[in-house]
């Protein structure tokens, strides 16, 4: 069973082994509104926790999405280049943003689980 974590910045992180898939939550996509562009990271890029990994742009504004932990980009969701609205229609599914290899999984300790996140946004 993959483990899913949530951050205070409204990202979700699904961890399988030392690979993490990262996206923004449904709550976040709703706040942002219709996305028109997603600036994706290059495969192989090294990230430090807190680095801007992706920029999602709505009609009105650009918002940073941060790396939840140190690691390296394994894959970016190329579908978003032509269809950024996938993040709106399926934030936790087809609208995932990137996959990364985690350098230190323990950096995710202390992040929220779904119940805690729901309380956070409640």
């Amino acid at each position: 069973m993959p483990q899913i974590y949530y951050t205070e910045d409204h990202e979700w992180i699904r961890v399988e082994g030392d690979t993490a898939t990262v996206g923004i939550t449904d709550y976040a996509q709703e706040q942002l509104g219709d996305l028109v562009f997603v600036e994706l990271p290059e495969v192989g890029r090294a990230l430090k926790k807190g680095d801007t990994a992706v920029v999602v742009e709505s009609v009105k504004a650009a918002s940073d999405v941060y790396a939840p932990a140190d690691g390296e980009i394994l894959e970016a969701n190329a579908s978003l280049s032509s269809e950024p609205a996938l993040v709106n229609s399926s934030a936790t599914g087809d609208g995932w943003l990137w996959k990364m290899k985690l350098s230190d999984k323990s950096q995710l300790d202390g992040l929220m689980d779904l119940a805690a996140y729901e309380k956070h946004t409640g």
């Binding site: 509104g33 742009e57 709505s58 009609v59």
Partner: protein, 366 residues
């Protein structure tokens, strides 16, 4: 949820009931989007009719025998020459011809005019007009009104359906259809439409009737911004300000020809000098290459990397189907098709100077 310290719209409860998401703008808590979202709201306005609560904007009545004199002094405008019912887009200028605010002035009668001012500038405008009115026989009276805009190709039909006679109004004309009402055929979307100032109780009744019409829905400030941006219309505080003049802003069309070389309105000398010398930079439309929006504040450079201008408004144009922006470039680069580059997060995005508007205006000129 609204932030403390921001003014609330009189109809805020209606927006809350409609599920609006609120945000701060010019000191007001404004509905930014409704559940359909900015994209659908924008396209709905272009296809049908959108209802906007623009009560943050201020109606200022200027009345008295000296009213026309006051307005012709405050603005590069021949107020005396306006016919009854005629509206005119104009400005308040500083002594250096900077734009204090852009306004729509409508002549309602021989000695009575209505001025529509921007939210963030309304107090400043009122005080400015008051100061200039000293010694003139006229009053400057900011009105307490709800202000609604209905915009789009079905706006007229929806108003008629709601029992409002649009009379003989054509684009840029206005009148007082009932006591306490002000209605003009104008707007900020590039579409045909109307703006109606009225008392709160009347506004509630009108909004209810309009929203009962399937062609009409509430439209938030986010779509208002994307609509006006596609239409190439300036937002004061972004595209024009006291640091820009009507020549650079490409708004000379709003100044009657005789006043471009003579006249004693505030800022006349500076304006005439700027017209004679020509503007060093010009406001232009900008079409970014690709899908990445270029936003206000982005620097513009030429291919050698030299700074040549800046973006003042930018976003995505839902009707245009691509990013759209407005900005200023050095005058020699203002011809459509000229390629410049916008610096966005360290990347240079190619941007072409593009004619304004991005989407054709569809005003009902009669």
């Amino acid at each position: 949820m609204t932030d403390v310290g921001q003014k609330k719209l009189p109809l805020e409860d209606l927006h809350q009931a409609a599920g609006a998401r609120f945000g701060a703008f010019a000191g007001w808590s404004m509905p930014l989007t409704y559940p359909p979202g900015v994209m659908k709201e924008h396209l709905h306005t272009r296809e049908h009719a959108g209802l906007f609560d623009i009560s943050h904007m201020k109606l200022i009545a200027v009345s008295g025998p000296g009213a026309a004199t006051l307005l012709s002094k405050a603005c590069p405008l021949d107020a005396e020459a306006l016919s009854e019912g005629q509206s005119k887009y104009t400005f308040l200028l500083t002594e250096t011809a900077g734009i204090i605010d852009d306004l729509i002035v409508t002549r309602l009668g021989p000695t009575r005019f209505m001025v529509v001012a921007n939210a963030g500038n309304a107090e400043k405008d009122g005080a400015h007009l008051e100061a200039l009115a000293a010694g003139l026989d006229c009053t400057v009276e900011p009105l307490e009104r709800v202000f609604l805009a209905i915009q789009g190709p079905e706006a007229e039909a929806a108003l008629t359906g709601a029992g409002i006679d649009t009379g003989l109004l054509t684009f840029m004309t206005g009148r007082e259809p009932k006591p306490g009402w002000f209605m003009s055929r104008s707007g900020y979307t590039g579409e045909d439409g109307f703006e109606i100032g009225l008392a709160e109780a009347d506004a509630r009744a009108l909004a209810a009737k309009l929203l009962a019409d399937g062609r009409v829905m509430w439209i938030g400030l986010a779509a208002r911004d994307s609509l006006r941006l596609e239409a190439g219309l300036c937002l004061h505080g972004q595209d024009i300000s006291e640091d820009t003049d009507p020549v650079a802003a490409g708004l000379l069309w709003a100044i009657p020809k005789p006043l471009r070389t003579q006249g004693t309105f505030v800022g006349a000398d500076a304006l005439h000098k700027t017209i004679a010398l020509g503007a060093a930079e010009k406001r232009v439309g900008l079409k970014p290459d690709g899908r990445q929006p270029v936003r206000a504040g982005a620097e513009l450079t030429d291919e050698t990397g030299q700074a040549v201008g800046r973006v003042t408004s930018g976003g995505f144009g839902p009707s245009a189907g691509h990013p759209v922006a407005i900005g200023y470039v050095a005058a020699p680069l203002a011809a459509p098709g000229t390629r410049v580059f916008a610096e966005v997060r360290g990347t240079k995005i190619p941007v072409d100077v593009h004619p304004l508007p991005f989407t054709p205006h569809r005003y009902r000129k009669g």
